[in-house]
Symmetry: C3
Subunit: 452 residues, 3 copies
């Protein structure tokens, strides 16, 4: 193993939300990175994405300005494991007009107003019949819910409870100017080769319309990771997927079965921009290296965090961790989906995501990848008793002081544990030291021929 890859120890807060306390090592400024991520989110926010269609394609093309993403198209009807690639959905306009011809529900104001994948409709209906196709959130009367009907042909509108209350019992003109026809499922893929064929998979979903934390924050984080990784030496190859949720992951896995064995670690990124604590959800295996690396980095990151056990519900880790795939893929989020009221509503907007939180998630992601890049198992080449560090200039020269230096302690740990069984991450865990301290120590000892 050569030079330290990626830049570990990028980010530490003294307390929560304290941006002044960020360490800006190696020119890495998490807040500035977070601001760039926020700009990308703002650019993508207005687009009406779905699991297929032009909104998704436009999103991927905008991402191509950031990273050299390849756009893939899979035809409707393609069999992918137990599923079939659905018809492509596109929408130009949609509204409900009252008797005066006023748009009381207007797709142009928010693309959440239309139930995603609604079939084309053009009819006049009374309020009672219309209500069977209307969805609101009575508990949050100002918010528009987000609804989909991908696999059952249907139509509907989402609106705020306040809007609904204001609608009189009259005849309405309903129009959904959509198409649901044979076409393609689109996704973006960016493969960044490293020294090894072994891959790290970074996956995010890109199928939600105007929702910021849910989908755009993960996209922005994946883009920033790709940008940083492409400019530094990498042991692993990295594969970035920007895909429609569920069907996209299934499609990629079904079409790339021969590549699955190369994927040694992976992260699903989503919901990383809200103000909540970082949450790492373990892979199905539970003790994979990515699980241990993430737990280690979070433990030392100085940000509020929590480790979640695996469960088969959630985002595309469901597919990556299905029993016949069983990849070592965990998920990094902040507040878990479904546990905050803004989830899948119009309140998951540009104000709900924050540059510092996005930057913090980037820093932690980079540190996790840095652990994977720099982890390894060494053998102490002088294993019988301690080697004499002093004659190599590795030891304080005057003995007898009550406290020995931390770096000596790191040397003693690495030397003691490097019997060919313990990885550097094992040593970091057993010693309670940060991985980067252990890793730097191992490199110093390797240079002095004390490790091989």
């Amino acid at each position: 193993m050569g030079a330290t890859r990626i830049i570990p120890t990028l980010f530490r807060e003294n307390g929560r939300n304290d941006l002044n306390a960020l360490e800006r090592q190696n020119g890495f400024d998490p807040l500035a990175e977070g601001q760039a991520m926020l700009r990308l989110i703002a650019e993508l926010y207005p687009i009406c994405r779905s699991i297929t269609g032009d909104g998704l394609r436009e999103t991927l093309r905008l991402l191509q300005r950031q990273i050299p993403l390849e756009l893939r198209e899979v035809p409707t009807g393609t069999q992918v494991f137990d599923w079939t690639v659905p018809k492509e959905w596109n929408i130009r306009d949609a509204y409900v007009k009252n008797a005066k011809g006023e748009r009381v529900i207007d797709f142009q104001k928010s693309n959440l107003h239309v139930v995603n994948y609604s079939v084309p409709v053009r009819q006049r209906v009374g309020l009672a019949e219309l209500k069977e196709h209307l969805f609101t959130l009575p508990k949050h009367p100002d918010w528009i819910p987000y609804r989909t009907s991908y696999y059952k042909e249907s139509w509907g509108f989402c609106l705020s409870e306040n809007q609904l209350v204001g609608m009189k019992d009259e005849e309405y003109e309903v129009c959904i100017d959509s198409t649901l026809e044979d076409g393609h499922l689109s996704y973006g893929e960016y493969f960044l080769p490293g020294e090894m064929r072994d891959e790290v998979l970074i996956s995010c979903h890109a199928c939600h319309p105007s929702l910021c934390n849910d989908n755009l924050s993960g996209i922005a984080l994946a883009v920033s990771l790709a940008q940083r990784l492409k400019s530094i030496p990498r042991r692993y190859s990295y594969r970035f997927l920007f895909i429609p949720g569920t069907i996209g992951a299934i499609t990629w896995l079904a079409k790339n079965e021969e590549k699955i064995a190369n994927i040694k670690h992976g992260l699903v990124l989503t919901g990383v921009g809200d103000a909540g604590a970082l949450h790492y959800k373990k892979s199905r295996k539970g003790t994979a290296e990515i699980d241990r690396a993430a737990a280690h980095v979070l433990k030392h990151c100085g940000q509020a965090h929590e480790i979640l056990e695996f469960s088969p519900y959630g985002y595309d880790e469901r597919q990556y961790c299905s029993p016949g795939i069983n990849l070592s893929v965990g998920r990094l989020s902040r507040t878990p989906h479904g546990t905050f009221p803004e989830y899948h509503t119009s309140a998951d907007n540009l104000e709900f995501v924050h540059a510092d939180k996005l930057g913090g998630a980037l820093a932690v992601s980079l540190e996790i990848l840095s652990v994977l890049e720099n982890n390894g198992t060494f053998v102490n080449s002088s294993p019988k008793c301690e080697p004499q560090l002093g004659k190599r200039g590795l030891y304080r020269m005057i003995g007898g002081t009550p406290d020995a230096g931390v770096s000596e302690m790191a040397m003693l740990w690495v030397l003691n544990q490097s019997d060919g069984e313990n990885s550097l991450l094992d040593i970091a865990e057993r010693s309670g030291m940060r991985f980067d301290a252990v890793s730097k120590t191992a490199k110093a000892l390797e240079e002095h021929k004390l490790l091989r």
Copy 2:
């Protein structure tokens, strides 16, 4: 695996002792069952049982009115492992008369008054000499203790401290009209065949005289279990033993060594009628399926409960869990023996046991057996990514709601974990769901060919 066997989820309390909160599913009414158990206990209560003799035989014959029990007789002197079947003990009468000829201690009033297995005596003694054969409980001056002397020929009387205090220093006439002669050791056995030769052993001791919680509650519970099990489909065969403690279990094991290998799980039932919390004592193995099933059921049962580690002291689990037998046999009780003052005294009477507590123990026992009956390991037949539940009518049709239904969650857990390694009980434990929910889900998925 076919239809769900036994009736799971029979019983849940919202709080302790709240009979109104009992769910009466499938016509199962735990309180009514408990009342029937209490009637049986009342019928058996007056009989003077011992480890051999007519009291034990009479008890077994009364049980034959409830279930088709077979009565076995093993002759005195039979070698059973390290033990020998003892002489048979019978007693007609016993008393201590004072100088006026009044019975101051009278076996007819309570069979606890005679030390069980006392040899025949007929003599006149002064108080001082008599006292060497008298046993009281000074801390509980109204109660009569229960004492035995099975393996050392001896005699004695038990009485209340208050009785003893009232006895004057005069000559007494002592009579124990007992016999201790070659005869037989009796026990009852009921074998209920199932689909498999594999057996579940249900064992209770039936050797205590007028004690309700200690022995009669376990007998009543075993009878009720047998009655319910015989009327429903069973995967396992069930063997019920109503035996004298220690020597009965040793005798059965020694005489039936060829059957031991068929016993896959077992429960010793005793002390299940008092007002205390349910206690499951683990088998010697500690992680046997019965141990895990019992822990799971108790965790979800809504009744106060505790899990006890195995120890080699207690009831007949001592024999079933001896190192050369080592069966997966646990013990279900309420307050553990020896930890309540009424234990082995006349206060363990009909007022000490309660219909609702007996019914609660029955419900929990049935649920434990239901876990064993319905447990199994399946294989997801569509293991690569999730199968499309929607096209099989197994999934909500409109997506995007914040909370997905519980049964979908159960489907996802069962599908995700069914890789041939994890049993349904494993899945229930990992998911935190009730076994019956997991089991029903597995059956639904099996019907849709998603599991095999």
Copy 3:
């Protein structure tokens, strides 16, 4: 296994520092033993020890009056693994005289005043230049620090901060009348053969000058252990090493590689006389028999105690637990080195160590060795059901009392667990009983042919 070896259960305090509560079993009086240890410490205290030289030799010769120690000499320049035996250091006198010719720093008053291994010096210097060679402890202005410079040729004086404050800016005469020349490294070795070639290693460092807890307490404990062990039957052989820290352990290991395989267990003894709680530091393996024996004894010892995980810093366990040696060697101390202010200062003096604490450490050490001596794995020769203890006189004859005796419980545990898999220590741990109770029970059962 024959008679119980060593004398278990030597020592129990009801509370801390309560010498009246000491049990004096088998003629063992921990306080008297501790007083003898304290006398030895007082005798050795004035000597100026170092990792080589006449102070170390004198110390070892004084120990030869206590135990038949062999004195070993290894020449300067001998290669020992990665290290080289250093030149031998000796010192006759050292001082700093002020302009009036008064000794303001005087080696005759305390041998801590000279930095250990200082090269010879004889010169006149001003205060400013002198200060570069002076070391104080400003936080403890009355104390003299202890400093060494073994592997870098240098010189210096240690003094109290109060002394330094009183030194005027004038010319001083500096004299260190030392020699640093080719010679030998000395150490003491005492081998006490037992029934087996398998050894227990007892190691303590003997290289510190006038420091009581750090080095002398460990020496005194090792001497007392050796004295007691040599007079009683021993299954294990015992090897006692009195060695200079680090280089001594490395030298012994390098020169005796063929003996290392015989060492099955070991203890490093140091810092056992202060008023703090006992601390056992686990071996690198963490679950070695010595680790479990020490944890068991401490749990039941009635003295305050703590178990420390292994770390590669500390005393000579660093060498014994290096990856290429990896012996099952733990460390017994009271307050861990470096965590009390008196550590490596003149305050680690005769008042800092206490007879009762030394005696308590001896008692615990003997109990740990007793566990090793008496541990073993037995097989129940009557494993099918319980053997009938009563017919062997091993059981109470009148049944039915609520509490069975403790020793019956021990018999049941030993019989139940003795399936050839569980050692007596395993049984003590599972049952929660003291090892000595389990061990005595096993012997009783062995005599009755119930164990083999």
